[in-house]
Symmetry: C2
Subunit: 265 residues, 2 copies
């Protein structure tokens, strides 16, 4: 199967080839990809494949698996990824705060940012209580609309932009998550009215519930969202109020710290 039929792939072909290789490798998970995986999915010749594999290995973007003939993603990606997740310095600011929240309340707390039509998880801190979540770890990506953090992010975008995103995601939201656009819009209203998001109930994870609040810059644009997730049975009114309060305090402190850093040259 082709790698990503929707990618319009205009740049230098070598670059596209290289990225396709990385995507195919990533798709193999911890087992990586084999030569045949590449050759089946790619449109260029074997020597070229090997040339690119070699180049990517030298750059640290790939490494060879202990199993001969298989390739894994290289640790350079991990290093760059760690940097990438720290957009606007948000992650560094959030990490200790998520930890504090998780330790205090025992629930699991998340930092999300917008990534095009998706929400991407920049940081997770699990608490002592067991939890189910759409993302298992840093780097997890969800279509905007799924999960409470999505709502918090969507709510503070321009109406037109939000509309584009939602119509782009509509089919996927319905098919994969059984979430309707109208319900998302209702929750966005709730977010705007009450200052926090609850997420739309879809077909997945029915026994879990969550909360999210946006992280806004001085001009009201969303830098990210902090969210939490817990078993529904834990979400009493009292607990909800307490956790929300805790999250609000941490986010307020973060934004304070951030204003000293952001947008400065």
């Amino acid at each position: 199967m082709p790698v990503n039929k929707s990618s319009t792939a205009s740049g230098p072909t070598t670059l596209n080839h290289a990225m396709q290789i990385l995507q195919i490798t990533a798709r193999g998970g911890y087992r990586g990809a084999s030569i045949d995986d590449y050759l089946n999915a790619l449109s260029f010749s074997r020597p070229t494949l090997y040339r690119l594999l070699k180049g990517l290995k030298q750059q640290g973007f790939l490494r060879s698996s202990p199993v001969r003939g298989r390739y894994l993603l290289g640790y350079e990606l991990l290093v760059l990824g760690a940097q990438a997740g720290n957009g606007a310095g948000l992650r560094d600011l959030a990490r200790p705060r998520l930890l504090a929240l998780a330790q205090r309340w025992g629930d699991s707390f998340y930092l999300f940012a917008r990534d095009g039509v998706n929400a991407v998880c920049l940081e997770v801190q699990n608490g002592a209580y067991p939890v189910g979540s759409f993302v298992r770890a840093t780097g997890g990506r969800l279509p905007l609309g799924v999960g409470q953090a999505s709502i918090a992010l969507l709510a503070y975008l321009g109406t037109d932009e939000r509309g584009e995103i939602l119509s782009h995601n509509a089919e996927r939201l319905m098919d994969e998550y059984a979430i309707a656009i109208a319900d998302i819009e209702a929750e966005i209203s709730h977010q705007l009215k009450h200052g926090y998001a609850r997420g739309v109930e879809g077909s997945l994870l029915p026994e879990y519930s969550g909360l999210a609040i946006p992280i806004l810059d001085h001009s009201g644009h969303p830098l990210g969202a902090m969210s939490c997730s817990m078993l529904k049975s834990r979400m009493t009114e009292d607990h909800k109020r307490e956790v929300l309060q805790g999250m609000r305090e941490e986010v307020a402190a973060m934004v304070n710290q951030a204003h000293g850093l952001l947008y400065l040259d």
Copy 2:
């Protein structure tokens, strides 16, 4: 200044150019890089630079900063990086165990893997007690020789390979960390004799101490190392014994789980 004079950069030039761009961007931290940063450090023309920037942006490897004319690392790197850190599935196996250890003992626990002449941090779980560490987060990299996890990794490599790594790192270890090769070798002996590593005391972080144990596959090769870090004052004999025991149990369980997964096709 040039990006990386030591990298022999042989593959397709476009690929190298692209990777240089990513490295320069990463070097800018959360502020990213500006056009001039690129043009000063690179050897190709401005149109080419823009072409590559465009291509990298389309692939999600870069995104433009809210500040016009600056570029940040893209979230695709975060996603791939998360995958890359899960080599052999180790990270997924380790995460809940690190969390359990951190919650139980309050210290900070780490998962490391070897990355050439470096050790790379695949996962961190901080505990309730404050801690100083060489790596602040996932993706942190240290020259092998620094930190207790390094010792645990080095100890189970072949003698010749270990020698190459150490002589490669020797200068840096001395200059940046005030660590001598002889001391590292002494700690390696300790690791081999007692089954755990303590790390070599260098010039940095004198008030912290740590422990590490290797994660070995069936043939005795190191897949990674689990380590912990704590204030020296917390490292009583009792606490040390308990924590070591806890780590050993978790690692044993991990390896058990892993053997079902590793090297299978």
